[in-house]
């Protein structure tokens, strides 16, 4: 019965989304106050129903109810409970249900907590949110019913062992919260266009919502990168794979958006552009969902795919994105352009930041889709991967970093070049010293890592400069947020460059008792032992690792033979030091009594994800600072209507 309840709840939610859209469309004029008051409760109840539906699906997975097709196809009763639950979204239908559940909750949160937005704009925003939800409910109910029944199945087929990892419990929910949270930006933009309300007030209202979604997106991408790094067993942390690019594109658009919205809020500039980015950020989320779910692109990350579903999502994209951009073209002309900028001003730096982020987004988009376009129109097959993205997006990103270093040191409105030069001088000196040291000491490490490390050093110094000679207790929280997020970029870039430049790799075939070097370590193969797992049998390599004359420690990479479905996975042993990670895996084959050992020493690789975490933390502080200031301001002058 749980499955039927879940399906019924999904139908109710869809009906309420329709009601939300219709009510919103009818209540745009001020005269219909009663209608207007009813839309927020509808949004909340809609979220409630879709949440119930999602929890019903989790329940049937947790109970291993094999009479539900989705459970039978993707789960197994012998799985540990955490993977039964996280397996709920380890498949197409379940992940789409999570998608709409988050969409519903985002709408309800706006309905409940958004106070600053003009009433008619808020109604239009909620109507837009309802419209988006309606389409994706239709997609679930018509083309991807997660609650379909099946008879006669006793045991399920199991979950891909690569997904049986805590990463699945954590990565998709955060990534989706970011992806779908961006719908708020989209709906706000549509609402603002419909009600012709684009200005600083609107920007201040929209900012917390996009910051929130952006924080989740940042965490999701960072977590996903680390998950791929430790689970795939080859030490790679970013593959420029279509699925990864699909998550990067909304992040780039959203990062541009949180900066342009600041210009709109502070200086009433970039009106049309901010609206454009708000539409673009969620459009990229939907395009990403399409790319992942339709199977138009081949990817490392395995997903079940179906072209028919792809067509359905494509139709939704055409309606929403096409509709929003048509509205944009028709309406934004009536929005005045806003103020013009002085070339030496903070807003000019932010515009340059937006330009570069957008060009990087276009590089990622072009590189991801051009092979598809070329094959579709000419039949020729090419591959576009790391060499293209690194060589084209890499330099753009480094220039972006330099602008990021300068931006916070510039004043709003106008500034003097000479003063800027004086302010950035310490950072430039540090960067120059870093460059000189690297050239003298590091040997040939490649152009991109060399400049990456240089820029990281420069940006690290520059990003803390806004705190220089300031009363630290009176500095607003969002300034700290900006400083930490920018510092996080430097930290992350340093990790990427260091990983690229200094990684040591040693692949060897060893007999028991043999010792092999890797970086500063010596690894001795002490033997193998068999260990039972909850739903797999593991063969564990026992490796004695010593650094110089230090005390040896044990690292134990495993080969795991899963039963349902039968699959061999490679579980790396990773040990983190202050200056890097030692990454050891054991190969699948034994040849003449020798086992294959893959060893990597990755200096400062952890900085990549530490930087990502700092960026997210910076966002969180900024959000907290803004919300707190709003609350205090509200208390002082009385809550604004």
């Amino acid at each position: 019965m749980i499955a039927e309840a879940g399906l019924a709840a999904l139908w109710f939610a869809a009906a309420l989304a329709l009601a939300q859209l219709v009510l919103g469309a009818m209540a745009t004029s001020d005269a219909r106050a009663a209608l207007r008051a009813s839309i927020a409760p509808v949004a909340v109840v809609q979220a409630l129903f879709v949440a119930i539906s999602f929890f019903c699906l989790i329940a049937v997975f947790a109970r291993s109810d094999m009479s539900v097709l989705l459970v039978a196809a993707n789960s197994h009763s012998a799985k540990p409970m955490i993977y039964k639950i996280s397996g709920t979204w380890g498949n197409h239908e379940g992940s789409m249900l999570m998608w709409v559940a988050i969409l519903g909750v985002a709408g309800a949160t706006i309905a409940l907590f958004e106070r600053k937005l003009r009433a008619d704009t808020k109604v239009a925003t909620l109507a837009a949110q309802g419209a988006i939800a309606l389409g994706f409910y239709a997609f679930l109910l018509i083309a991807s019913n997660p609650f379909a029944r099946i008879t006669g199945v006793i045991e399920g087929q199991g979950l891909n062992p690569l997904l049986q990892d805590p990463g699945l419990a954590f990565h998709p929910p955060t990534l989706y919260a970011g992806y779908v949270g961006m719908s708020a930006a989209f709906s706000f933009a549509v609402g603002a266009l419909v009600t012709r309300n684009v200005g600083p007030e609107f920007a201040r209202a929209m900012r917390p919502w996009i910051l929130g979604a952006w924080i989740f997106l940042t965490i999701g991408i960072t977590a996903g990168s680390y998950w791929a790094y430790y689970t795939l067993g080859w030490g790679g942390w970013w593959f420029w794979d279509p699925v990864e690019n699909a998550s990067l594109m909304p992040w780039l658009a959203a990062t541009a958006l949180i900066h342009s919205v600041t210009v709109l809020a502070t200086r009433d500039g970039l009106r049309a552009w901010t609206i454009m980015l708000a539409v673009l950020a969620f459009s990229m989320s939907m395009v990403g969902t399409f790319l992942v779910r339709s199977g138009v692109l081949t990817s490392v990350h395995s997903f079940a795919v179906d072209p028919q579903r792809g067509l359905f999502i494509l139709e939704l994209l055409a309606v929403y994105i096409g509709g929003a951009l048509t509205l944009f073209a028709l309406r934004v002309g009536t929005v005045s352009e806003g103020t013009r900028f002085d070339p030496f001003s903070r807003e000019a730096a932010l515009v340059a930041n937006n330009l570069l982020l957008t060009v990087i987004l276009i590089v990622v988009l072009a590189g991801t889709l051009y092979p598809l376009a070329l094959e579709g129109f000419t039949g020729a097959k090419i591959s576009v991967g790391a060499p293209y993205f690194n060589s084209v997006a890499g330099p753009l990103a480094l220039v972006l970093m330099l602008i990021m270093a300068m931006g916070p040191m510039l004043r709003w409105r106008s500034d003097r070049p000479g003063l800027l030069l004086r302010r950035v001088a310490p950072a430039v000196v540090v960067g120059a010293i870093a460059l000189a040291l690297l050239i003298a000491l590091a040997g040939p490490i490649g152009i991109l890592p060399l400049f990456g490390l240089t820029v990281a050093a420069l940006v690290a110094v520059a990003s803390v400069a806004p705190l220089w000679k300031r009363n630290l207790t009176r500095t607003p929280l969002f300034t700290y947020g900006m400083v930490i997020a920018h510092l996080g970029c430097a930290v992350s870039i340093a990790g990427m460059a260091s990983e690229g430049a200094f990684t040591k790799e040693n692949l060897v075939a060893v007999k028991v008792g043999e010792t092999q070097p890797i970086g500063p370590f010596a690894v001795t193969f002490a033997g193998l032992r068999e260990l039972p797992g909850p739903n797999y049998a593991a063969l564990e390599g026992v490796l004695l690792v010593a650094k110089g004359t230090g005390k040896p420690f044990i690292m134990a990479p495993q080969l795991r033979q899963f039963r349902d479905p039968p699959m061999l996975t490679n579980h790396a042993a990773i040990r983190t030091f202050w200056n890097g990670q030692l990454y050891l895996t054991i190969g699948e084959k034994e040849i003449d009594g020798r086992w294959l050992l893959r060893m990597w020493w990755k200096p400062f690789v952890t900085l990549i994800w530490l930087g990502g975490a700092m960026i997210a933390l910076g966002g969180a502080l900024a959000l907290l600072g803004r919300v707190r200031r709003d609350l205090f301001a509200g208390r002082r002058v009385g809550a604004p209507a």
Binding site: A272, L314, A318, G322, F328, L365
Partner: protein, 176 residues
């Protein structure tokens, strides 16, 4: 008016994107990687005999004026079983099929042929996929048509079905 036009640019771009997606969704699902060696001479190789009872294969065998099939297969390859009857029929029609067994062992191969039949005149062993890579072949089974001068005329990716026989015969220069 200029500004008006530029405002339509995003819509135009996104529609182009959707056109690409639409074409992508409707294209023939095709993950085959065609070999670039078609039309070129067979690369030089000498494959040792995969089975004690049967000769191995070498490029020199293909230059005697008689067109042949070169079949890349393996006993561990499940779909390969399906094409054996078709290859047997081709053999009965006088087509010589040379096998290249990839990553295989003599006992496993022996069992495979005993169970399914042996359409091969010779079977060369390709332990490390060297011949497969030289052919530009990306999986098993794949079948190449080699003309009498030792040139690769055609590549067939995947299982050879009954329906593929006329095309293969045509490429071999043989009448069905």
């Amino acid at each position: 008016m200029k500004r008006g036009l530029i405002l339509w640019l995003p819509l135009a771009l996104i529609l182009m994107l959707f056109a690409v997606f639409w074409v992508g969704l409707h294209r023939q699902e095709n993950h085959d990687i065609a070999s670039q060696m078609v039309g070129k001479p067979l690369p030089l190789f000498t494959a040792p005999a995969a089975l004690p009872g049967q000769p191995g294969a070498a490029t020199a065998d293909f230059r005697d004026g008689k067109p042949r099939l070169l079949n890349v297969f393996a006993s561990w390859c499940v779909p390969c079983v399906a094409e054996v009857p078709v290859l047997m029929r081709l053999k009965a029609m006088g087509v010589e099929v040379v096998g290249i067994a990839v990553h295989d062992t003599a006992p496993a191969l022996d069992q495979f042929l005993a169970r399914n039949g042996n359409p091969y005149a010779r079977i060369g062993s390709d332990d490390q996929s060297r011949i497969q890579l030289a052919l530009g072949s990306s999986g098993v089974p794949e079948t190449f048509v080699i003309d009498g001068q030792g040139r690769i005329v055609k590549q067939h990716i995947g299982v050879v079905g009954e329906g593929d026989v006329p095309e293969l015969l045509a490429a071999l220069g043989q009448k069905p």
